[in-house]
């Protein structure tokens, strides 16, 4: 039964991929087209000038001497052959550039989500178990304070506190430069580099999930089925976890799916502050350098990530709530 539901979901999601990709490609292309200046202008600014013949030769080489429509069609036909094109900003194939950055972004987002979800639900359950109690109010207040902080500011404060003042953790990068480390030593090194950025990115979402969990639970206490369970003599951890928390988890999981796109956006800032070579920063570089193929490559890959996360969320939903995905609704 569960297998069948998952299969239906998967098929429906895969069919949805094509229009989403079309919108992403068209949107990103139109966005960069409407921005004044092209990749050659950006390149010339970097090299400090050149003569008219050189400028014309560059435009011809990068295909920028043609109008937007032929360029767009050329991109689509290359894309159909799974060719993502050439990045002028990095002088190498787009696929190489984006694939090199993907693991870092996935790692950052994955860890931040894990932190936000686990800590958020845990604290949410603690608060929601006794709404209105002293520790509920203290934790909720702290969560609101964290939620109000901009991610980049939190990042800078963490750097000053833990990298500059006390040299406990590195201030940036994904791993020690050319360290020669392998295996567990390398994983440990990467882990140390990820602590601060994961906190800066994850804490804001942690506060959000905490809020959702806590409020959901607070409402559930008044529901009939909870009162019925209580009347049957159920109490303590079993009541809190199996009846109240499990149901309050549903909106949290929904939010998780919705937030995956916004977290990708947040990672632009965090990746810049912590000098992590990831997709978010790459997207902003692609815009600054007017590197259309690169931006499209980043957008396509990001869209894939977001859709994958949402698929996982839907599957998790089906497991958490038997009412979902029974074939007719949802």
């Amino acid at each position: 039964m569960a297998d069948h539901r998952a299969f239906t979901l998967l098929r429906r999601r895969l069919l949805g991929v094509v229009p989403v990709f079309a919108i992403v490609v068209l949107g990103a292309f139109a966005l960069l087209e409407s921005a004044p200046g092209d990749a050659v202008d950006a390149y010339l600014a970097g090299i400090g000038g050149g003569d008219a013949a050189q400028v014309a030769a560059l435009r011809a080489e990068w295909g920028l001497d043609q109008g937007p429509l032929p360029r767009f069609l050329a991109y689509l036909s290359a894309l159909a052959r799974l060719d993502l094109g050439w990045s002028s900003a990095f002088g190498r194939p787009v696929l190489d550039v984006v694939l090199a950055r993907l693991p870092n972004t996935l790692l950052l987002m994955g860890m931040a989500t894990l932190l936000a979800l686990s800590l958020g639900s845990l604290l949410g359950i603690i608060c929601g178990a006794r709404p209105g109690s002293l520790h509920d109010r203290t934790i909720s207040l702290a969560a609101i304070a964290i939620y109000a902080m901009p991610g980049f500011w939190l990042g800078l404060v963490l750097i000053v506190a833990f990298s500059v003042e006390r040299r406990w953790l590195p201030s940036g990068g994904i791993e020690t430069v050319a360290s020669g480390l392998t295996g567990w030593d390398r994983a440990h090194d990467i882990g140390r580099h990820l602590v601060l950025p994961v906190l800066a990115l994850g804490l804001v979402y942690m506060a959000l999930y905490l809020r959702l969990m806590r409020d959901g639970m607070a409402e559930l206490w008044a529901q009939d089925f909870v009162r019925a369970a209580r009347a049957r003599g159920m109490a303590g951890a079993r009541l809190v976890l199996r009846h109240v928390a499990r149901n309050a988890l549903l909106p949290v999981v929904t939010m998780l799916g919705l937030q995956s796109a916004s977290m990708l956006g947040g990672s632009v800032v965090i990746e810049s502050v912590f000098a992590i070579p990831g997709l978010g920063r790459l997207a902003s570089e692609a815009v600054a350098r007017r590197d259309t193929p690169l931006l499209l490559g980043v957008m396509l890959l990001s869209a894939m990530v977001v859709m994958l996360v949402n698929l996982l969320v839907d599957l998790a939903y089906a497991l958490l709530d038997p009412r979902v995905g029974s074939g007719t609704g949802g």
Binding site: A35, P36, G37, D38, A39, D41, A42, L44, A45, G46, I47, G48, G49, G50, D51, A52, Q54, V55, A56, E61, S87, S88, A89, F90, G91, R92, V97, A100, R101, L156, I159, V160, S163, V164, R167, P170, S171, G172, G173, I174, V177, A178, S272, V273, A275, P277, G278, R281, L282, A288, R289, R290
Partner: protein
């Protein structure tokens, strides 16, 4: 610290490298990690003469000669040990260094120089194409002599001044018969320099390692140089304080943070070492705009700017005021007798009245679009100042903010502006970097050049004459006349000359000891110990 102290510091700092360094013991080895803010996709300095490229490439690929604070013509020999221009300007002979090998083990010979000059600098160099336009042939009578032959008389002074930036020699055996612009060696550099190219991890770092067979005995001192990409403005300062990097050049630590970071123990601030890369803060004026085609209006704008205030408030003292298009550092070409335009709003107002632009009921004479270049914090800040300064003389400027490609397109292709804030860089000879700002008739789309419609037949004549003048003294006279004329005409308004700041840990030795230090080979840089 106050501004005058800093200026005297600046003057004193230039003399520092002359002091004996023997007192400090220098250790061999170690990795120097420096901040980088850009990652050029093409690192070949023979093709792209830009500071972003040189910052990395100058350690790997060497020019014929490098700039020096002392020495004949302000040059220190690199791949060439001697050079002599013929009196008729038709040829120039270079004696090349012996016993030099490429990083892949092949010997360096005159054939490499001939190939680089004819096939790379002359055909592909973004600035070399103009300087070596008349280069006809390079004769190589033996492996260590290269004689450049020019179709038209070419000033030896110009070629000498071009040596540090425009004569990077690349290996013939890797480039011959290939598509030079797409050669993989443009990313994986192979040169003769003190460091070899190890790896580039885009978005992360570029790493160079010591060349054990460098021609200069006992050099380099360092084992490795790592350029860490730090995109955030605050990152370089933090990483320096945390000792994750040891040096940040090109003002990677913003001027606004310098006061604080200069007080951190173990950190040193250098304000010299960029004299050969002087930038000029300039107001470009669109002469096609009716009001601005009147020289009285342009003079009024020049009088409206308080240059001392700009240097003090925007550059925090790390700049000097300027009136003409050749910076004071170039004592050969700088024309000291250009009077220029002092801060005088009354005079500016009188000039505008005289030009027939009375203030309207709202106090406004006319309106302008002002496009500040987004290249530096200081160009943007000066844009804000300029708007206020112009408001004081009844000109209302509307600031149009663009990012870099949009700014280039608007100003140098579409010419859709009235005035801009620009930052042209001076490159050691007026023929390389200055004449392009004033000669008329350039096609639209050539950036950092006269796209503002300035036209003066006399100036065009001087530029043509100077290009064919062989005699050093006569060349200097012509370029000084040029400075006088364009300042008289207010072709554009020169406001200040600025360069950059280097911040380093104090155990890094031999920092800022030549006028193009950040883009020189760093073979003598090392750690105290």
């Amino acid at each position: 610290m106050t501004a005058p102290t800093r200026r005297s510091l600046l003057a004193g700092a230039a003399a520092l490298p002359l002091l004996p360094r023997a007192a400090i013991a220098q250790r061999r080895g170690g990795r120097l990690t420096v901040a980088a803010d850009s990652e050029p996709p093409n690192l070949n300095p023979a093709i792209i003469a830009s500071n972003g490229v040189f910052f990395v490439a100058s350690k790997v690929i060497e020019p014929l000669a490098e700039a020096a604070y002392t020495g004949k013509d302000g040059l220190a020999p690199r791949l060439a040990t001697a050079w002599e221009g013929a009196p008729d300007g038709r040829s120039m002979a270079f004696t090349l260094r012996q016993g030099v090998t490429w990083h892949d083990g092949r010997p360096f010979t005159s054939a490499d120089v001939a190939f680089s000059a004819l096939e790379v600098w002359k055909k592909h160099g973004n600035l070399g194409r103009a300087v070596f336009r008349n280069l006809e042939a390079v004769e190589t009578p033996d492996a260590h002599t290269a004689i450049f032959r020019f179709a038209e008389p070419t000033p030896a002074q110009l070629i000498r001044n071009a040596l540090p930036a425009l004569t990077a020699v690349v290996p013939k055996h890797l480039y011959e018969g290939t598509d030079i612009m797409r050669n993989p060696a443009n990313q994986k550099l192979v040169g003769t320099g003190p460091f070899r190219f190890a790896e580039w991890r885009p978005g992360e770092y570029t790493r160079l390692v010591r060349n054990p067979t460098y021609w200069q005995q006992d050099r380099p001192h360092l084992n490795e140089i790592v350029y860490r990409v730090l995109p955030d403005r605050a990152a370089a300062g933090n990483a320096l304080e945390a000792e994750e990097i040891q040096l940040a050049a090109f003002s990677a630590v913003p001027l606004a943070d310098l006061d604080r970071i200069a007080k951190v123990p173990g950190i040193k601030v250098y304000s010299n070492g960029y004299e050969g890369l002087t930038y000029q803060l300039v107001v470009e004026i669109n002469h096609r705009r009716k009001e601005l085609s009147d020289v009285r209006v342009r003079r009024a704008i020049a009088h409206a700017i308080d240059r001392d205030f700009v240097v003090r408030a925007i550059f925090r003292g790390y700049a000097t005021t300027s009136q003409g298009p050749v910076p004071k550092y170039d004592r050969t070409f700088h024309a000291p007798d250009v009077a220029g335009y002092g801060f005088n709003p009354q005079r500016a107002n009188a000039l505008l009245d005289e030009a027939g632009h009375p203030r309207g009921a709202d106090g406004i004479r006319f309106r302008l679009r002002l496009l500040p270049a987004p290249f530096f914090n200081e160009t943007r800040q000066f844009g804000d100042y300029l708007r206020q300064a112009l408001a004081a003389i009844g000109i209302e400027a509307t600031i149009v903010s663009n990012d870099t490609p949009a700014h280039l397109r608007a100003v140098y292709t579409d010419r859709a502006f009235d005035i801009t804030v620009a930052s042209p860089v001076y490159r050691g000879d007026p023929a390389i970097s200055t004449t392009i700002l004033f000669q008329s008739g350039l096609p639209a789309g050539v950036p950092f050049a006269n796209q503002y419609g300035y036209e003066n037949a006399e100036v065009d004549t001087i530029i043509r004459q100077a290009a064919a003048t062989i005699d050093d003294a006569e060349r200097v006279r012509l370029y000084r006349a040029l400075q006088k004329q364009v300042t008289d005409d207010v072709a554009l308004v020169n406001v200040a000359e600025f360069s950059f700041i280097t911040v380093a840990r104090d155990n890094v030795l031999n920092v800022s000891n030549n006028p193009r230090w950040a883009v020189s080979n760093w073979s003598d840089v090392g750690f105290a110990g």
